[in-house]
Symmetry: none
Subunit: 136 residues, 2 copies
DNA sequence: AGAAATTTGTCCGTATGTATC
DNA sequence: AGATACATACGGACAAATTTC
């Protein structure tokens, strides 16, 4: 069976299936996913396809893979209790920012740094820049 | 000749070559790149290898691909006003980011730059960072 | 309107080498 | 030494979107 299948690409189907198992607890947080070789057998998919599925899970933050070890399921916390931290300061435009804002290098700008955490881990860092400072 | 390891992988060599053609204007912005089939012939590489090179250009924001059409060269200028522009690329952690994410300096991160305009003026620049990349 | 050709997207199978545990 | 994942590359096949005839 060549398995073309409905609409969806195969790697996405596999990703959906694995996501389901992680979120449902079939694969508990912190435990290893089945090895790529096992998944290729189970889904009768090529390795490249399985890897693409796993890559999708990594991007979603649902899995972390370690070289030579395997891919771990990660706890999926819907916990938004973590308040983002913000810090705002005056900075001077570097070449990149100067080009974007069409100002001279060294022109004063405002930078706000927001750090978003998921538990202990820093998930994202957002740096926002705008002309200024508007002196607060 | 198959492919020795001249320091750099084949797909990167191809990407470098194409990048130079775009930036130098040999392939002007808005025009189509040669089809994958043409590139496989020119570089005597497998299609997957060519596609990987093109994918690299896409991540740099140098090209846009449309199904059934082809891959267009993109202007590399920031001076094109319309929607919020986003560019995503792999970067290496500087000391500040390394400290926040608690990783080594030089660790690979993903940076997305979003430019928000109001008319001609750049209003805000948002740089978002997160761990990765999960490659491809 | 329809068929054919072109082009990218996805998938398969295989192979070789490296790095990590 | 063995198992695992990672990176790269090849070839072939069909699907899906677009263009051309």
């Amino acid at each position: 069976m060549p398995t073309p299948h409905h609409g969806q690409p195969r790697y996405r189907f596999i990703a959906d299936e694995l996501r389901e198992r992680i979120e449902s607890g079939v694969i508990p947080p912190g435990t290893l996913l089945p090895a790529e070789s096992v998944l290729t057998a189970e889904f009768r998919a090529a390795r490249g396809t399985v890897r693409k599925a796993i890559a999708a899970l990594r991007e979603e933050g649902l899995a972390v893979t370690e070289h030579g070890r395997g891919t771990y399921a990660k706890a999926h916390t819907y916990n938004h209790a973590d308040q983002p931290e913000r810090r705002q300061q005056k900075i001077l435009a570097d070449t990149h920012l100067a080009a974007l804002f069409e100002v001279e290098v060294g022109t004063a700008l405002v930078e706000r740094v927001t750090v978003i955490r998921r538990g202990e881990q820093v998930e994202k860092v957002i740096r926002t820049y705008w002309p200024g400072p508007t002196d607060l």
